[in-house]
């Protein structure tokens, strides 16, 4: 009897506690959201997800469990992978490397039941976007950014294989995808941060993004490539701007994924120096130029040093690319934009392509697997001839 009572207390306590707190805070109980809309499969799924997300019991006990697992058993859930010496890796990024090939048949059918709208094959969307950009007078250049696990395998815990041979683990389908894209007329440039597990540090210890130095190297490489391929004329690097170092200390975006907070054994802060790009005369931070003929579509790899979340401002990929190109850039940048949202912005506002002759599309390479790739045709294209 006592056994039954204790179990029932456990079963009822979670929802009752939640309800009591919500009522005490004069909030509408979240469980009532069930009745807000006509139920559909999607709305019920959303309701269920929300109910779990806001659960106070889940937030506290779930987080404590996650921390305990990470500290004691080296496992931090699906979003976070624990490396060595406090290095953390983004789970989806690592799974991009180890998962099935981007174009594998198994991937094409994997989402049918759970996410019927998920489009796993990126090719049609990229080809269509490339064609639309071309018709608007702009050349599209893809800039997939390698995942941390591809560049810092030692820190992930990989040992023997790296020293024995050049190491550049990538998704098994990447080369085929790039070959097909290039054969279809799409420009792809893959910044090569690490030659062969050379032991250098290119990524932040507890952040999924690159170091300021690696980012600057990539910006310089991209600028050189654009000039070498004659997409742009050589400019004067840094014209009108100056760089100003700023020292910052933070952990990054990854500890939160494993509920690792300050005080945890695995939580480590890191101090870095970013180079802010400032106007030489006014001292104001670099700002995008909507009228520039180069448009940069980008995700958090561009925003990480300019969005003021963890790592300061005015020192991101857009700023440094602009510096190395010696010209202004128009940008559509957002954290969590992946490869989809920035493109969707262009589709929503086709006038953003007006006067552009080059569209640089930077995204984390993991998005080739993690994200859905619906074809998004650009509706009313700006008159051609406004660009190149």
């Amino acid at each position: 009897m006592r056994f039954c009572q204790l179990t029932l207390v456990l079963l009822y306590a979670v929802s009752m506690y939640q309800l009591a707190v919500e009522l005490a805070l004069h909030r509408r109980p979240r469980v009532l959201e069930l009745f807000d809309t006509m139920p559909t499969a999607a709305s019920l799924k959303t309701f269920e997800r929300n109910l779990q997300t806001v659960s106070l019991s889940r937030q506290t006990i779930g987080a404590a469990t996650r921390r305990a697992l990470a500290d004691w058993l080296g496992f931090a859930g699906s979003d976070l992978v624990l490396g060595v010496d406090g290095w953390l890796f983004h789970g989806p990024g690592v799974r991009y490397v180890t998962g099935p090939g981007i174009l594998d048949a198994s991937r094409q059918s994997a989402h049918i039941e759970d996410e019927p709208d998920f489009v796993p094959d990126p090719r049609p969307a990229i080809f269509r976007f490339n064609r639309d950009c071309k018709q608007a007078g702009a050349v599209l250049v893809l800039l997939p950014i390698p995942d941390k696990s591809m560049v810092q395998p030692r820190q992930l815990g990989v040992t023997s294989e790296i020293s024995a041979r050049p190491y550049w683990a990538n998704n098994t389908g990447f080369d085929r995808l790039v070959a097909e894209l290039r054969a279809g007329g799409v420009e792809v440039y893959f910044p090569s941060l690490s030659p062969a597990g050379d032991g250098k540090i290119y990524f932040l210890r507890q952040d999924s993004h690159w170091t300021p130095e690696a980012m600057d190297t990539a910006a310089r490489d991209v600028a050189a490539m654009l000039v070498a391929k004659k997409f742009l004329e050589p400019g004067r690097p840094g014209a009108g701007f100056r760089m100003e170092p700023r020292t910052l200390t933070a952990a990054g975006d990854l500890p939160g994924l494993g509920s690792l907070t300050a005080g945890c054994k695995l939580y480590r802060e890191q101090t870095i120096v970013v180079q802010r790009v400032l106007d030489r005369v006014t001292g104001k931070p670099w700002a995008p130029d909507e009228k520039a003929d180069v448009l940069l579509l980008a995700d958090s790899f561009t925003g990480v040093f300019s969005d003021q979340i963890y790592w300061g401002d005015a020192a991101g990929f857009a700023e440094h690319l602009s510096w190395h190109l010696g010209r202004g850039l128009a940008t559509i940048v957002g954290n969590g934009f992946g490869a989809w949202k920035a493109r969707a912005e262009v589709v929503k506002q086709p006038e953003l392509l007006k006067g552009k002759r080059l569209v640089l599309w930077e995204f984390a390479v993991r998005e080739l697997i993690a994200e859905s790739w619906p074809v998004l045709p650009i509706p009313n294209r700006p008159p051609s001839g406004s660009g190149r």
Binding site: T40, S78, V94, T98, S106
Partner: protein
């Protein structure tokens, strides 16, 4: 809805119990029907309509079967048809309608695209590729394989005179839709539930045992099946695995599917007990089997007995000579394989088991390795069952063959192999793998473990439940494997 979710454990289940225990007795069956439909409709409301249609067809067929016999009611209940007597053409038609409606429903939703794909392939081979048929890409309603089989058992049992037809539609809906076992079994025959639907009673012993089953089932799914599933997911679908990794992935999947499905079955039994129903045992330590014949006495018992009673025996069973027995075993296992999914992989999986059963039957119901010590026979059976799982788990036939090649060390490891190792050889995964192996070969199965609940055992089960819930809150949505069948 999935049993191991926040919504089910902390909202659906407590609310259902609250209403069920405090309402008048006469409303309880109706309540169960309503909550079962809510439970089922959660995945897709439209599917509930489909299930209701199927239920009504079978209910009407059952009534017609009895009415056409002209037998009077017995104590206010419909008469049981006399066994062994010939049935009228009308009754045979009623049975055929019930079976056909279920088979067509299952065939359309589960096998239509598969048939189209194969026909198109055939057209292609014969140079008629331009006449290719269109796929319909219809989503498979959750649990349809289970509830259609269950429905068929009703009409067949009534027709044979093995069970009494139901007069009340609500009672019949309760049989068809009872949420604890609706989505992934066990496949409970009508004769098991019929009396319980009419009369059932509560006891705290039953409830306590239900909780014990719940703790065991939840722990199996959350603490073992899900982590090992992550390992198996890393391995299957990828080429270029190291030989050792592929074996680790295969055994992880063997453990995953057992703990996942038997966990679900335990939870189904628990939820049944909480609402005063006794369901049936679906697993009996299957990896302790010492032959494939023994394995099928222990694995998914409700399906294997269903296939035996409604397919193997009507086909003639072992009554028509040895050769026909082997054919019957093959046919039954092929259909059993196809029941799991519309793919050649499942057909091959079924064919493998059918062949092994026929072979063992040929040898007098013993395995080819029957002279080995028991521990080695168990190991060999586990190995054979695991190798068959390759076809069950791989997405494509090519994927299965590649995986077998990797098991034999015929593939060159890809550069990502050491990265993959970091993901799957964490202390956590290795501990779970070891615990799974220990439980499989040394622990009692849930029915025995929950029989006598001592105080320390109850404390252990409560701790297990708390641990499972805590762990559940760290995991993303992870439905049971058998939901897709």
């Amino acid at each position: 809805m999935v049993f191991t979710t926040h919504l089910f454990v902390f909202y659906f289940l407590p609310l259902t119990l609250l209403v069920y225990y405090f309402e008048p007795k006469r409303l309880r069956t109706l309540t169960l029907v309503l909550v079962s439909y809510l439970f089922y409709a959660w995945a897709s409301p439209a599917w509930a309509l489909l299930m209701f249609f199927s239920t009504v067809v079978d209910y009407v067929c059952g009534l017609v079967l009895v009415r056409l016999s002209g037998l009077p009611d017995e104590d206010g209940q419909l008469a049981v048809l006399p066994r062994g007597e010939p049935r009228s053409p009308g009754q045979t038609i009623a049975l055929a309608v019930s079976i056909a409606s279920n088979v067509l429903l299952l065939g359309f939703f589960k096998y239509f695209d598969f048939a189209v794909a194969n026909l198109n392939q055939l057209l292609d081979w014969t140079g008629n590729g331009s006449h290719a048929l269109q796929f319909i890409h219809v989503a498979l309603p959750v649990g349809i394989s289970f509830y259609t089989f269950q429905s068929m058992s009703y009409a067949i049992d009534v027709y044979r005179g093995d069970a009494r037809a139901m007069r009340s539609l609500v009672d019949f809906c309760c049989f068809e839709t009872l949420y604890p076992h609706l989505v992934a079994g066990p496949i409970v025959r009508y004769s098991v539930l019929a009396d319980q639907i009419r009369e059932r009673s509560h006891s705290w012993e039953k409830f306590a045992r239900g909780i014990a089953f719940f703790s065991c089932g939840m722990a199996k799914k959350i603490l073992i099946a899900n982590p090992l599933g992550a390992v198996a997911d890393q391995m299957f679908g990828n080429s270029g695995l190291r030989c050792g990794d592929s074996w680790y992935g295969l055994f992880s999947y063997s453990f995953q599917i057992y703990f996942d499905f038997s966990g679900y079955s335990d939870m189904a039994v628990c939820l049944g007990l909480m609402i005063w129903f006794c369901l049936i045992k679906n697993f009996d330590s299957p990896y302790c089997a010492d032959s494939i014949t023994d394995f099928w006495r222990r694995w998914h018992i409700s399906l294997s007995t269903w296939l035996r009673d409604y397919l193997y025996v009507p086909l003639g069973g072992n009554r028509l000579g040895p050769r026909r027995t082997y054919v019957n075993l093959m046919v039954v296992m092929l259909i059993g394989g196809l029941w799991h999914g519309a793919s050649w992989n499942f057909v091959i999986w079924g064919a493998f088991h059918g062949f092994m059963l026929a072979l063992e039957r040929y040898q007098g119901k013993t395995s080819a390795y029957s002279r080995l010590p028991r521990s080695q026979r168990v190991g060999a059976t586990f190995l054979l069952a695991s190798l068959a799982w390759v076809f069950f788990r791989a997405e494509t036939l090519g994927g299965a063959l590649t995986y077998l090649a990797m098991l034999l060390g015929f593939c060159h490891p890809c550069a990502a192999s050491p990265v993959r190792a970091v993901l799957v050889y964490t202390p956590f995964h290795l501990i779970v793998f070891t615990v799974a192996a220990l439980l499989v070969w040394t622990a009692p199965q849930s029915w025995d473990f929950t029989r006598d609940l001592s105080r320390p055992k109850m404390g252990f089960l409560l701790a297990l439940l708390a641990m499972s819930v805590s762990m559940m809150w760290t995991q993303s949505s992870n439905p049971f494997l058998y939901f897709r069948f």
